[in-house]
Amino acid sequence: MMEDLNYLTISRAHDLLKMKKITAQDLVKFYIDKIKKNNPKIKAVITISEKDALKKAKFIDSKISEGKEIGVLEGIPYTAKEMFMTKGVKTTAASKILNDYVAPYSATSIKKLEEHGAILIAKVNQDEFAHGGSTENSGYHPTHNPWDLDRVPGGSSGGSAAAVAADFGIFSLGTDTGGSIRQPAAYCGVTGLKPSYGAVSRYGVVSMASSFDCIGPIARNAEDAQIVFDAIKGLDSKDSTTVGYDFSNSNDETNAIYYQVGNILDEEISKHKIEGINIAQKEPVEKLGITNEALAAYYVLVPSEISSNLERYDGIRYGESSQKASNLSETYFKTRGEFFGTEVKRRNLIGSYALSAGYYDAYYKKAMQVRTIVKEKVDKVLEKYDVIIVPTTTEPAFKIGSKSDPIEMYKTDLLTVFVNLAGVPSVSIPFGIDEDTNLPLGLQIIGKQGDDLKILEIAKKIQSLTKYHERVEGITL
């Protein structure tokens, strides 16, 4: 092959296809070969969909050879988190309880990408039912960070972030309930967008916590994230929580407030003067005064919704069912006992407890009140400033097995969770390198609800200047 196909962006791949420098089948083969070669080290991929992907690529190639126009996503290979229903391709949510489960339909976002001609090449690992921040809680195996195989890729969309960093496809679809797109994107040095709540249909994506879950892209850069977001966003008659946002964008000078977290990225941010972005205010994140409260409320509300959303996995209609059960209640207890992992059980218990009669007011209702306050506070800041800038995490990717205490793990969501409580959009972009570990760090740009395109526009501006997203030399493959 004449062209260097490593680390292609969507628009570069599109150009190569259009100019007939490569074929869509070449592209698919290139990524699948790469997965086959490097996945044993990374373990990001659970299922490869080779035959189907090549069939679609062949169709697109014939279109190109007939001289037909192709869309920007046509022939672009991508991966999707195990949460996404993909007709004909296994969907497990990385849980043993859905071992070998094949959905009879595809998620709205998957369908939309298919309509745009993007090609699903693989399904990727995650924490079981998205419960976690490291992908160590996968029911199958942990995924390794391509920058340092001893470290986690983050989570729960760790497979997606690792897949993009390891160049297993050009982008990936993830889900973000409390940081599950942004935190792994930061840990893996890639770009992750958590859209406004309701901007992208949740239909066909396993529900973790319905009132928090957002679907979004993990990509090589903000431009790619925007292309994918454009394709998957919009009202869906199958998801009544979708919102018809008017995603208008303006090119006016942006006023930002920058919340410092210790001295993480502080120097980096002061170093870069970005045209059109004015850091009008700079203060420690403690002044925002909601991160700890948001985290506490999150870990009451999310498990509550989880406990209810997981009730359908009962061993009766689909999925695994315990062979050791001899009556109905044993079917429930043993199936869920055998096939749910520890963290899933833990969240089930927390949630069931918070919702039970006598505790509802003290936990669920109180946490809902905190959620309202958090949203009000975030909205108020965003009335004054166009965007909030804050690091995505307080540290780079940690070592596999180093956070055995669940509370320590929950704390990795400290800087992302309040965004989900507020329902606003946030994009995490690679920004700076941690000096001690040489690992990537991430920066969030958070906007008003519906300002998804605006934050992406800002991210693009920053990326055109800093080029952190182009650094791949630290990747150990």
């Binding site: 959905a103 008659s237 009730e311 009962d314």
Partner: protein
């Protein structure tokens, strides 16, 4: 009577007659369908599926609110009731716990010719579960999810009911309202209308401990079960024992209630707001737009029937048949005079009821009014009226039937005189008998005239002329 006063509250589950299920596009009518043929990823709760509100069900609930003199919540929301059972695919039921769509209403029931108001605390939308069957001798159970997701409205009364008779009348009144509004098919055999009865007795102002009689589906059984249960509770109290708070069933064969589940075993349903469905905003304009479609309410019909002095049984009969009540309404509009309206009602509670449902389905108020008028104007005899009634019920206009068949009543003197003279001429013997004082041969002559005219002669006219001509 007894020093104990019963207090009864009722929860009614009505199945809405929507085309599709509450939260998915599946057909809502599974009668005659094979088990698990009316299902989809949503009502089977496959991973990733989400519920979407059926607008038709919401509109039906809005109509119900009008029938119950109730308020429609401007913001209504859905909640989850969590429980594990094989008939519940999601592991929770979507219901309305905190902001039900129908709030604060009442209906009036007729007790001893007086109206009594029974408060309706609220009514909410929820989904039905699947159906479980336990094959005889098998060590497994089967689930049919065709019914899973069927829209229900649960109507919760205030504890304003104080006797089994009142309970029965309340149930009938609600049944009449929901069927008249067309929001429920009222097929009680198929569980379209089921109810739970909460009952307690007390000899003081303070309410006694209540029991709940669950899952009844006939008015008669409701009355019987309540009578039994009230007596059982009184007997317990009289013998110094306590009533246990529990759920009881009704055994029809034994005519007894029996204990099913005690309060201690009650589930904790962990209710919380349904995060997959945002609160629904219902503007007053939208509400009145929907409620404008309602023709007439059973309570209005009852008052009209009461005015013309119809018996309660006949009132019930008409009200319980929304289509018949509509015929009555239309005929009443045309006839206007009370005397004629009564006659129309007599047809509806009499001959009309004797016909099969299919045979009477095409009667219109207009045709009924025409029939009543034709008889009243002596255009046709009531005998002819009865003869052609079945055809009128089949959709033909009475005027067309009599025109086609030349059935117009003969009242013309000269024509009748001609016929009578001929008969007198041909029957010298009876004429002789009459003239020698036998009045009863009059009937013979009238009969002959009717026969000759194929029943079209006006009987009183015939009588008058026969006497006149016989006397010579």
């Amino acid at each position: 009577m007894s020093k104990y006063k019963p207090t009864i509250g009722i929860e009614i589950h009505t199945q809405l007659a929507t085309k599709s299920k509450m939260f998915c596009g599946c057909n809502n009518d599974s009668r005659g369908s094979k088990p698990n043929s009316n299902i989809c990823p949503v009502c089977m709760a496959l991973p990733g599926t989400l519920p979407v509100i059926n607008k038709g069900a919401v509109e039906m609930a809005i109509k119900m609110a009008k029938g119950f003199n109730a308020k429609v919540a401007n913001v209504t929301s859905f909640d989850r009731k969590n429980y594990f059972y094989p008939d519940s695919p999601k592991g929770y039921q979507i219901t309305q716990m905190y902001e039900p769509i129908i709030q604060d209403g009442f209906v009036e029931i007729l007790i001893d010719k007086e109206f009594k108001k029974i408060g309706i605390h609220h009514a909410h939308i929820e989904e039905d579960a699947g159906k479980l069957t336990h094959p005889d001798g098998a060590d497994y159970s089967l689930v049919d999810y065709n019914r899973a997701g069927t829209p229900l409205v649960e109507i919760v009364s205030e504890p304003d009911i104080n006797s089994p008779e009142e309970a029965k009348r309340y149930l009938q009144e609600i049944y009449n309202i929901v069927t008249a509004l067309g929001v429920c098919n009222g097929d009680m055999e198929h569980g379209n209308f089921k109810f739970d009865l909460n009952v307690s007795v007390s000899d003081s102002e303070e309410l006694g401990t209540r029991t709940e009689l669950k899952n009844l589906n006939s008015f008669r059984n409701a009355e019987r079960a309540l009578k039994y249960e009230i007596q059982r509770q009184i007997d317990l109290l009289e013998s110094g024992e306590k009533v246990k708070q529990e759920t009881r069933g009704w055994n029809d064969a034994k005519s007894k209630t029996f204990s099913q589940r005690s309060k201690e075993e009650a589930n904790d349903y962990r209710y919380f707001p349904e995060p997959d469905i945002p609160p629904l905003n219902l503007s007053n304009d939208f509400i009145s737009e929907i409620q404008k479609e309602i023709d007439v309410l059973p309570s209005t019909i009852r008052k009209e029937l009461l005015e013309i002095g119809l018996s309660v049984d006949d009132q019930d009969l008409l009200i319980s048949q929304p289509k018949t009540a509509k015929i009555f309404q239309d005929a009443r509009e045309i006839l206007k005079k009370e005397k004629l309206i009564k006659k129309a009602v007599n047809w509806l509670v009499g001959d009309f009821q004797a016909l099969g449902l299919d045979d009477r389905k095409d009667l219109t108020g207009k045709n009924l009014a025409e029939l009543v008028k034709l008889i009243d104007d002596e255009e046709i005899s009531s005998k002819i009226g009865k003869e052609i009634f079945a055809e009128v019920c089949g959709g033909e206009a009475p005027s067309k039937i009599i025109d086609d068949r030349g059935l117009v009543q003969v009242s013309d003197d000269t024509e009748l005189e001609k016929i009578i003279t001929e008969i007198i001429k041909n029957n010298p013997k009876p004429v002789e008998d009459y003239r020698s004082g036998s009045e009863k041969v009059l009937g013979f002559f009238v009969g002959q005239v009717m026969k000759e005219t194929k029943g079209q002669a006006n009987p009183s006219k015939v009588n008058e002329l026969v006497v006149k001509l016989l006397k010579g």
